[in-house]
């Protein structure tokens, strides 16, 4: 049922673009069985390096972007980075920082009743926030 909602949203997103006119490429990665979670991969034109992953479950719509891996954090600066992220968290509009495994992520959660325009705004803001976040904390990250 949640996967149906995701399918519906991705179909609607397919011919939309962001307020800046930037195009989107969407690919639905369906679960292996009916119990499995489906994920939509959303590529923002010109920012293909930072894909957005969208999932829907009973409680929420999640949009997630991967930022950097734990190994990219300069040695000895992990605590400082954490402090900055935690402090920034409130002031970043609509998005929040988190971790999945060893990956730092930025994500936004929406009500499962959200419509396609809510999702579009989320994608636009999340994409901007992801870029800005990397720029902001780049002093804590290794070059390679």
């Amino acid at each position: 049922m949640s996967n149906n909602k995701l399918k519906l949203l991705t179909d609607e997103l397919d011919n939309k673009s962001l307020s800046t006119g930037t195009g989107l490429t969407i690919e639905l990665i369906e679960g292996d069985n009916s119990d499995d979670v489906s994920v939509a991969q959303i590529l923002v034109e010109g920012r293909e390096e930072l894909p957005i992953y969208m999932t829907v479950d009973e409680g929420q719509i999640l949009c997630i972007t991967y930022l950097w891996h734990e190994r990219e954090v300069k040695s000895g600066m992990r605590a400082d980075l954490m402090d900055v992220l935690l402090t920034l968290n409130v002031s970043v509009p609509l998005s929040a920082f988190s971790k999945i495994g060893n990956q730092y992520i930025i994500y936004g959660a929406l009500s499962p009743d959200s419509n396609v325009n809510d999702v579009l705004l989320e994608i636009e803001v999340l994409s901007d926030n992801a870029l800005e976040a990397i720029e902001t904390v780049s002093e804590f990250l290794n070059e390679e």
């Binding site: 979670v37 010109g46 293909e48 999932t55 009973e58 780049s138």
Partner: protein, 228 residues
């Protein structure tokens, strides 16, 4: 242990593994088993709630009947007294006293049942809420696992080998370069627009004879000769 703690250990357990799995699937399976157990318990609680409510209704009926019977017999006592039959009045009064004692006992049982029903309803509500929260958490863990897999797949497909090793800074660099290039192109296109616009205006002015013709060699020669 609360649900969040269990989830954290499930996620950490997964992250510490050598493989790419984010979630300790074994831990999730255990959580799901616990959910199933909780659901069985919940079903049991619901069944006993129905039973208790049925029993409570039976006792409510008894209490009403006793109340009616007492009122009815009080009428009989009055009538017996009106007729001056003291002995009959006393006999009926004894029956009323018995009924009143029985009513007290039944009322006590009824109150007890009402309490039980309240408690059970509360328990069922809380359990249902907890289970919903637990379901949500498990769903989130499964979701993040799926997203992780999708990201690995995508980065492998996206730009070939070593792509998953590409750093955030490199990505940022590529994206901003691309943006700058696009901005430059836009600016160049705009400049070109303005230039061609200017040219078009100039030639119109020339044609109209407002702007002087382009300097020609003969004009230069004529000017220099004139200076002498």
């Amino acid at each position: 242990m609360n649900i969040l703690k269990k989830l954290i250990s499930a996620i950490r357990g997964g992250a510490n593994e050598v493989g790419e799995a984010v979630v300790d699937t074994q831990a999730i399976r255990i959580l799901e088993q616990e959910m199933r157990d909780a659901r069985t318990e919940l079903d049991k609680a619901k069944t006993s709630l129905t039973e208790i409510m049925a029993e409570k209704m039976g006792i409510e009926r008894k209490v009403t009947e006793l109340g009616k019977s007492i009122a009815e017999h009080e009428g009989y006592v009055e009538k017996a007294l009106e007729k001056g039959d003291e002995a009959l009045a006393l006999e009926v009064a004894e029956k009323i006293a018995d009924s009143e004692n029985e009513l007290m006992i039944q009322q006590g049982i009824l109150d007890g049942y009402a309490n039980k029903v309240e408690n059970l309803k509360h328990l069922i509500n809380t359990t249902e809420r907890n289970m919903k929260a637990m379901e949500r958490e498990i769903s989130i863990v499964k979701t993040t696992e799926k997203v992780q897999k999708a990201n690995e797949m995508a980065s492998a497909k996206f730009s070939g080998s070593d792509s998953s090793l590409r750093s955030a800074k490199e990505s940022l660099e590529r994206i901003t370069q691309r943006q700058r290039k696009r901005e430059d192109q836009t600016k160049a296109a705009m400049d070109l627009d303005i230039e061609t616009g200017d040219q078009a205006l100039e030639s119109k002015l020339e044609q109209a004879g407002i702007l002087a013709d382009k300097t020609s060699a003969s004009a230069v020669l004529a000017r220099i000769k004139a200076k002498k």
